[in-house]
Amino acid sequence: MTARTYGTPLPGLPLEDLPGKLIVIEGADGSGRTTEVALLKQQLEIDGHAVVDTGLRRSDLVSGEIDGAKQGHTLGATTMALLYSVDFADQLENKIIPALAAGSTVLADRYIYTLMARAIVRGASRAWARELYGYALRPDLIVFLDARPVILLHRAIGKVGSLDYWESGMDLSLSRDLFESFFLYQDRLSKEFAWMRDEYAFHWVDANRAPDQVHADVLRLVAPLYAPPARRTRSPAARVSRARR
């Protein structure tokens, strides 16, 4: 039996009976995340599953403070990392866990991994970030949409006409040039996602392709989660032995 959380669970929250599925879609802005979340939600609902979607900065508690802080960008890196963690904890306790308890599928447009990567490239240690989010529920599936920086760049320019200050990591002063900063920042982020890929068992999907191709891959990854119980296996070893038979 695997633990439901990565580290110490939250006090006062029962995690035993959560029949719903938690699916996480991770990836940079421009990786096609939002499009994929919408497509997947629609397909799951067509298949008869109740879906609750969630993302970063959507809690009632502090999303206003985060937006305000980003406007003025006066906050230190530790403060910002912690402010995001409040937002995440609030959503986990008040939205994600209740939805899972009710048997819904929770579709998360980014999760702790983006928050950790952002904090780490701003100076937090990996150990600190990992422990901070240790109470997070282990998702049933983590899909990482991997797109080359140049693709992200074209999509950003095509969609909003310019590069975003934060997605370009301008607060890090890597370069005064937005264009250059964007590449340096994305490069740092991908280094963090690279180690998380193994540690957290990301499923890597090539997101340099068209949305329908990406979607087809994601559907293949999602399908086993809803397979009839008899065919579901828990450990990779069991899966291998079954395949040989």
Binding site: L10, P11, L82, E131
Partner: protein, 233 residues
């Protein structure tokens, strides 16, 4: 920004003096008096209190009022608030050679969060960005004294101070006593593990202040004063 625990003593020119203890232990009065004395000797002094940053104050107030907070979000919000206070208000003057007088520091979070059931190691990790102070004064009083002073001050005991969110008792005063007893047990434990200077805070104000000054004097060797800073610069 975040060295791994345990945090080392800071290597900055200033000094970090921390006052911890239950509500009504008299620590704020003593901190103010000590500050006066330090200023009179020419040191640059900077005061800071728990929960005084403007960033999350309104959220904490709103969350408390609406009962939106769980032990985890309560803990993380206070950590956010403290980080903001630390990054903006404690660290710069500490580096500039000020004597920082902190009315509560990370230890307040350690005791409160532990009393609310958060994992102590998890909480410690979050606060590992905060360096160990030069001295932590723990104002130790029996819970009965804390309660008596609280009542005498005619300040209303608030919901969270009484730990009413924990469901220890439906009666505010009784819950306050039970919750403060938990906090005191945690403080007493930290007194050993974190090398607190324990102050018997049931004594007269003057007597306690004298003891504090004797304790602080040796810590001030080579600590820059305002005048020196001007002349050296």
């Amino acid at each position: 920004m975040t060295p791994d625990p345990p945090p080392a003593r800071h290597g900055y020119p200033g000094r970090l003096l921390v006052f911890e203890g239950l509500d009504g232990s008299g620590k704020s009065t003593q901190a103010a008096l000590l500050g006066k004395w330090l200023q009179a000797q020419g040191y640059r002094v900077f005061f800071t209190e728990w929960n005084s940053s403007e960033l999350t104050a309104s959220t904490i107030r709103r969350g408390k009022k609406k009962g939106l907070l769980t032990p985890t979000t309560f803990s993380l919000l206070h950590a956010t608030d403290f980080a903001d206070r630390f990054e903006r208000r404690i660290l710069p003057p500490l580096r500039a050679g000020y004597v920082i007088v902190c009315d509560r520091y990370a230890f307040t979070a350690f005791v409160r969060d532990a009393a609310r059931g958060c994992d102590p190691a998890w909480v410690r990790n979050i606060y590992s960005f905060a360096p160990r102070p030069d001295r932590v004064f723990y104002f130790r009083v029996p819970v009965a004294v804390s309660l008596k002073r609280k009542i005498a001050s005619r300040l209303k005991i608030n919901y969270y101070e009484a730990g009413m969110d924990l469901g220890l008792s439906d009666d505010l005063t009784e819950s306050y006593e039970k919750f403060q007893t938990r906090l005191k047990r945690e403080y007493d434990r930290l007194a050993t593990t974190d090398d607190f200077t324990v102050i018997d805070a049931t004594r007269a104000v003057e007597e306690i202040q004298r003891e504090l000054r004797e304790n602080v004097r040796p810590l001030l060797r080579d600590c820059p004063t305002g005048e020196k800073l001007i002349h050296d610069g």
